[in-house]
């Protein structure tokens, strides 16, 4: 949520820094005579182990200019076991984003025999990373050997970020000696919060009158990535922010209520005449009409803007003002919000601003206000109960990207108070779509009249909702040469199938959330029917394509709870006529049922397959559903049974026997 940056002018008050105390980041140092860190045999089996990470964040007023700066100290020590570990740790990059000065930087290699190679920091190079959009200082460690440790300590002076910082402390592998200290001037009170099982930071009075928070963890076990779980979200982390400035008696510096007011003021300003003209022009260009229903108008506007305007993050001109937006055909997030809300206001559609974060990275916390939880802006239309993402091209009214659903958000609505209008914050859930909204319907007909071992298979697949929204958004950008390959991939079949002809429809961006993408085609395969003596093996399961499976993970102890990106359902039917002269000997193998119900008797998740026979015609019906967004880790076993059932169906072989 960079769009509503507020300058805390009150911070720039020249103030006496605490008397007589040397700053922590200057006092702190590494061990002058380091010994190799004792590690267990298990640890040494990994290519690298982090044996120490110490971070100090110290906020200080500068005696000369009176401004507040952050001094950030990083001290890390890593054991590298082998050449793979060396290759990954040989080079070091220090971000200079928002950095005024590198106060100090030193590094050394500790060899297994205890010998220390101090690095020559004159080798420090500087360059700009176009990918990260920041400058970096970087160097390569001299003299690393398998079994050595590398150690790095640096301090940078940078502009303070007080609206919220999240340090992810936990990693995939075990870490030793993780610690964090935050020191601030007497008047600035920092508040921190620990997540996912990390201990809270505690107040230490030894630096009094300075505020001093610290935490240290001797051993922090690693958390490995697991399927159907979001590791980034679940790792142990610590967030902090500025909470109070006691000199100016300012409390709750970062507060959702305040943010709601600022953002409201910013989004619904008094526009200039030129701006109002630009807004009217966009209204006309988009073909809006007050007489049309609200959702139709919003769709017209959204389709027009997303087709003709461009979201621009970094730009020299102010693209939040409607006049500039129209001239440049480009907007920032704030600009987009202003256009939508202003036009909606003109035609009497109520809007609420919604702020949330990507739930696969962080869990929105309404009790700890920081900007990190407000990184994504959405619009909510209370009268039609639909959400809109003004920026993302693969979403449309009513179908926003799922990482921003099934999470809480801050809703900002307008209220009139004594003649002027302001924004107030409430916290509500942004619901995930139902399984039926993300459904895949698949009708498969197998025709053996072309030959028992070379049947023709006809597919009609309809995919609703999120699954194919990016395909609908960008289908017209696919080059004609690449198109056949892309279309084939929509069938999601394995390599054994050859596509004969394929037709894809509802491929316009306007169809997102409105019409399912429809894939219709014929395929053949040389390998899914085999003759064995007087029998024929029909690998019917392969027709539903390879399925995800959790066999190897279900052997391990599950750590994280199960979290789905979306609720979803698959309705499949396979129809075939038993070939002339044969009978089907094992139709019962088609019957499968794995089903879990909630207390109200509704299906939480299931994989059910059954068949009907009418004469020689067999119809297989498969019902697969995932209605539950989350499940506790102890129910992973049940979840994987359903997932694996689909994969087991994929292995079903029917046997035709000569009648």
């Amino acid at each position: 949520m960079k769009i509503f940056k507020i300058t805390f002018l009150f911070l720039i008050i020249a103030m006496q820094s605490a008397v007589g105390q040397e700053s922590r980041y200057l006092v702190y140092d590494w061990n002058t005579t380091p010994a190799p860190w004792p590690l267990s045999k298990e640890d040494k089996a990994n290519k690298e182990v982090s044996v120490l990470t110490h971070r100090i964040v110290q906020l200080e007023y500068d005696a000369n200019d009176g401004k507040l700066y952050e001094y950030y100290l990083y001290h890390g020590r890593t054991y590298v076991n082998d050449k793979a570990g060396i290759a990954e740790n040989n080079t070091v990059y220090i971000s200079l984003d928002d950095v005024y000065e590198v106060v100090k930087a030193k590094a050394r290699v500790i060899l297994p025999n205890g010998k220390v190679i101090v690095q020559n920091m004159e080798n420090l190079k500087k360059g700009y990373s176009q990918e990260m959009e920041a400058d970096y200082n970087y160097f390569a460690f001299d003299g690393m050997e398998p079994g050595s440790e590398i150690e790095l300590l640096y301090v940078v002076k940078k502009s303070p970020d007080l609206y919220g910082i999240i340090y992810t402390i936990q990693g995939e592998n075990i870490k030793y000696n993780e610690s964090l200290e935050i020191i601030s001037p007497a008047n600035l009170v920092i508040e921190s919060k620990s997540y996912n099982g990390l201990p809270d930071m505690v107040t230490d009075t030894t630096l009094s009158p300075l505020n001093y928070l610290k935490v240290s963890i001797d051993t922090l076990r690693g958390m490995q990535p697991e399927s159907y779980a979001y590791l980034d979200k679940n790792l142990g982390k610590i967030a902090y922010k500025l909470d109070k400035n006691t000199y100016s008696n300012l409390r709750n510096v970062v507060d959702y209520g305040k943010i709601a007011r600022y953002t409201h003021e910013n989004t619904y300003p008094e526009f200039s005449r030129n701006d109002l003209k630009a807004i009217k022009k966009i209204y006309d260009l988009a073909g809006l009409d007050e007489k049309k229903p609200a959702d139709e108008n919003i769709r017209l506007l959204e389709n027009y803007l997303k087709k003709n305007f461009h979201f621009q993050k970094n730009y020299p001109d102010d693209l939040s003002n409607p006049k500039n937006i129209l001239e440049n055909k480009a907007y920032t997030e704030l600009g987009a919000l202003r256009i939508y809300t202003a036009i909606c206001k003109n035609i009497g559609i109520k809007t609420q601003l919604v702020f949330t974060c990507d739930r696969t990275k962080n869990a929105f916390d309404k009790n700890f206000a920081i900007y990190n939880y407000l990184e994504k802006e959405l619009l909510y239309f209370p009268e039609i109960n639909l959400f809109l993402d003004p920026i993302s091209l693969d979403s449309r009214l009513g179908l926003i990207n799922p990482e921003y659903t099934h999470t809480d958000g801050m809703f900002v609505s307008s209220v009139s108070m004594g003649g002027f209008v302001t924004g107030i914050a409430t916290f509500e859930n942004i619901p995930a779509k139902l399984a039926k909204d993300n459904k895949t319907e698949m009708d498969i007909e197998v025709d053996f009249s072309t030959g028992l071992t070379s049947p023709k298979v006809h597919y009609v697949i309809k995919k609703y909702g999120t699954t194919m929204s990016s395909a609908q958004a960008f289908y017209d950008r696919i080059s004609p040469e690449r198109l056949p390959e892309i279309k084939k991939s929509f069938l999601e079949l394995d390599d054994n199938f050859e596509v004969k002809n394929i037709l894809v429809s509802n491929t316009n961006p306007e169809d997102i959330g409105q019409k399912p993408i429809v894939i219709e085609g014929d395929v053949t395969s040389q390998s899914f029917v085999q003759l064995a003596g007087n029998k024929a093996l029909f690998r019917i399961g392969q027709l539903i394509g390879p399925q995800s499976e959790l066999y190897s993970e279900s052997k391990k102890e599950r750590v994280q709870s199960v979290e789905n990106l979306v609720r979803r359902a698959y309705d499949r039917s396979i129809t075939f006529e038993v070939p002339e002269g044969y009978k089907l000997s094992n139709p019962e193998d088609l019957k499968m049922e794995i089903k879990y119900m909630n207390e109200e008797g509704k299906i939480q998740m299931c994989f059910i397959s059954d068949y009907e026979q009418t004469g020689k015609i067999i119809t297989v019906i498969i019902d697969e559903q995932y209605n539950q967004m989350e499940l506790p880790a102890n129910r992973f076993d049940e979840f994987s049974k359903v997932i694996n059932a689909a994969s087991d169906f994929n292995k079903i072989v029917l046997i035709f026997e000569k009648a």
Binding site: K83, A87, N173
Partner: protein, 646 residues
């Protein structure tokens, strides 16, 4: 009278404007129709190059002019522009850029305000001299045009000149003009195109010769998966300065032939050879001491460099061509290819073995030294050691490649071997035959209680072994089992390894063995069992679609042999065994063979081999036939039937 004139003028301007507005809209529609899938089309690209002799040097200045037209709202994605240059050898000057924004009946010109120039980080190279001029085209939107022009001064004539007539978007018109002062000899060659593809003319004017190439309607480059890359597809012209005459009448050779190229490269080596100090004497001595033969010494020292020096690419100015002193490389424990090659050569020399610096271009460079005796043909350095009259190529940057074989990406390329200041040799690097780049697995198993239980023994050689070693090194305690199961998995994903039984030996020839179990694989129906004996379909024979136009790049020859041996369960009889199948083509072959073994065992051997670096489109039909046969054959099952109780 005056009034009347003004009126006429107004009218005509008005009409002009009206028709111009229509023109703007008309042009936009025309291009949108012509290029329906494109965000951008190049209207024109003009490159004018002058080659002059100044102060007894060749001075090369290149002027570029480029106009692009943006057809969709995605235009904004292209607004950030970055022009890169290697600061040591070139610079960019006189940069001008603006956007033309459609505004009803006219285009408004908006100039680029700020241009920054900075050192940029490269993704592949740790440190180099790449700088970039960066700027943002303002108001870039649907219907807008951009104009860009700049000059590039090239300080080293050896790096001149490569001109691409192709881009990632279509270009309506492109023109290249070379203006060459008398006394400078140039030559040019065509790649992925020929002179007849251009309107070409040459003429003399004053003391210059002009060469002009022009082309219209240039389609955008299209890449296919596993297909040739940019250099092998993009039409381009390479112009090189052969020699030039100075004011004093002296002829200076530049890039006439390979000898000239060699001379330039070798001067950088000569200096390193001249002042190399001994490095790691204890290591060299101890390897020497414990080795019986020269081969063992070479192996020992090669492995030491592979294991102890990590590869970090550093290409700053001439540093991109001059190896650093072996003592420095050794102290740092890192270096780029030439640093590592140089250290290897030096350590071998200390051990009394002569190895040679070797310049080479990797497989992605499509030129031969004869065609292009220029730096464009070289991007790598390795070492060569002659054993019994035959060169062995040693690449210390390939950390896991087995001793004795070249790194995979130089196979089939010509090596330029340094023999001394004026003496060199060119030798073709052999392609590792499929039989030496092999993955073999023998699995023996039985079927009991609904499960397959067995033991597998895997051996890999060549680049299979290299890959295995590389992957093994990345494992940790948490993912080891999962990864082994993914690499060696057979049948289906229920494949599970008993970790206590695992034996792993990553080496030049790598070994792996384990006990395993597999569920839900055997199909049972009444008293019959159906078992597909190709448990691992190592390669699934992709059918090449009819629409494919470009060749399919393999990069290496390889072979796979998997033998699966089934113990027939007690009380069962084999009632159906699939037929043996084989297909052999000069570039690819497979066989699936079944055999009854004593002790109620059945063996099935699956063998696959390809001996082609690149599959040409005219073999696609044969390939598809091969792939279909392989699929059919590998999907067959044998049938076992329960014996009737007497």
């Amino acid at each position: 009278m005056k009034k009347y004139i003004t009126l006429v003028l107004c009218l005509s301007i008005g009409m002009c404007n009206f028709s111009f507005a229509q023109q703007i809209a008309g042009q936009f529609d025309e291009y949108s129709k012509k290029y329906p899938n494109e965000d951008v089309v190049g209207l024109q690209k003009i490159t004018e190059v002058t080659l002059e002799i100044d102060d007894n040097k060749v001075v090369i200045e290149k002027n570029e002019k480029e106009d692009n037209y943006f057809l969709t709202q995605h235009a904004g994605n292209y607004s950030q522009t970055s022009l890169e240059f290697e600061s040591y050898f070139s610079e960019i000057t006189d940069l001008k850029a603006y956007t033309l924004v459609p505004n009803g009946n006219r285009f408004d010109k908006i100039k680029v305000k700020e241009i920054s120039s900075r050192k940029v980080l490269s993704n592949d190279i740790f440190y180099d001299g790449t700088h970039a001029k960066e700027f943002t085209f303002p108001a870039l939107q649907k219907g807008a045009k951009t104009h860009l022009e700049y000059s590039r001064i090239l300080k080293e004539p050896r790096f001149f000149g490569r001109f691409f007539f192709s881009n990632y978007y279509p270009v309506e018109h492109q023109k290249l003009v070379l203006q060459v002062e008398d006394g400078i000899q140039i030559d040019f060659s065509y790649f992925n195109c020929s002179e007849t593809d251009f309107d070409f003319k040459t003429y003399n004017k004053g003391k210059n010769t002009f060469y002009v190439w022009e082309k219209h309607n240039i389609p955008k480059l299209y890449f296919e998966e596993n297909g040739p890359d940019f250099l092998s597809l993009a039409p381009h012209i390479i112009c090189r300065v052969l020699d030039y005459k100075t004011k004093d009448g002296e002829t200076i050779d530049v890039s006439r032939n390979l000898a000239d190229l060699y001379k330039w490269y070798s001067t950088h080596i000569d200096a390193v050879v001249a002042d190399s100090l001994p490095v790691m004497p204890q290591v060299v001595d101890s390897i020497r001491k414990y080795s019986q033969t020269d081969r063992e010494v070479v192996r020992g020292i090669y492995k030491w460099v592979q294991n102890h020096i990590s590869y970090i690419a550093i290409e700053n100015g001439l540093g991109g061509f001059v190896p650093r002193a072996p003592t420095l490389v050794c102290k740092r424990r890192y270096g780029d290819c030439k640093d590592m090659a140089s250290l290897l050569v030096q350590m071998l020399r200390q051990a009394g073995i002569t190895a040679n610096y070797t310049f080479i271009g990797t497989q992605d460079i499509p030129y031969s030294f004869e065609e292009v005796p220029m730096i464009f043909s070289v991007n790598h350095m390795i070492a060569a050691w002659k054993e019994n009259g035959k060169y062995m190529f040693l690449d210390p940057t390939a950390k896991n490649v087995p001793f004795g074989i070249p790194s995979s990406f130089v196979q089939g390329k010509t090596a330029l071997i340094y023999l001394g200041p004026d003496e060199f040799e060119t030798v073709k690097v052999p392609i590792l035959p499929a039989s030496s780049n092999k993955s073999s697995t023998v699995s023996t198993f039985q079927f009991e209680n609904g499960k397959i239980k067995g033991t597998l023994n895997h051996v890999s050689t060549g680049y299979f072994s290299e890959k295995f070693r590389g992957r093994t090194a990345q494992l940790n305690e948490a993912n080891r089992q999962e990864m082994y199961e993914a690499w060696f998995g057979m049948g289906n994903k229920t494949f599970s390894i008993n970790m206590e039984s695992v034996k792993v030996e990553p080496a030049d020839v790598s070994h792996f063995s384990c006990d395993f179990e597999l569920e839900n694989y055997v199909v049972t129906n009444g008293d019959e069992l159906y078992i597909n004996m190709i448990l691992k379909k190592s390669w699934n024979g992709s059918i090449i679609p009819e629409t494919r136009k470009q060749s399919f790049i393999y990069q290496l020859y390889y072979s796979i042999e998997n033998e699966n041996i089934l113990q027939i369960p007690e009380g069962y009889t084999l009632t159906y065994l699939p037929e043996n199948t084989e297909l052999s083509h000069p570039e690819f072959s497979f066989s699936i063979k079944y055999k009854k073994l004593p002790g109620s065992k059945i063996s099935c051997t699956y063998f696959l081999e390809t001996s082609s670096l690149e599959l040409e489109p005219d073999t696609f039909d044969e390939w598809n036939d091969f792939a279909r046969k392989l699929k059919t054959a590998s999907s067959q099952s044998l049938v076992l039937k329960k014996n009737k109780k007497p």
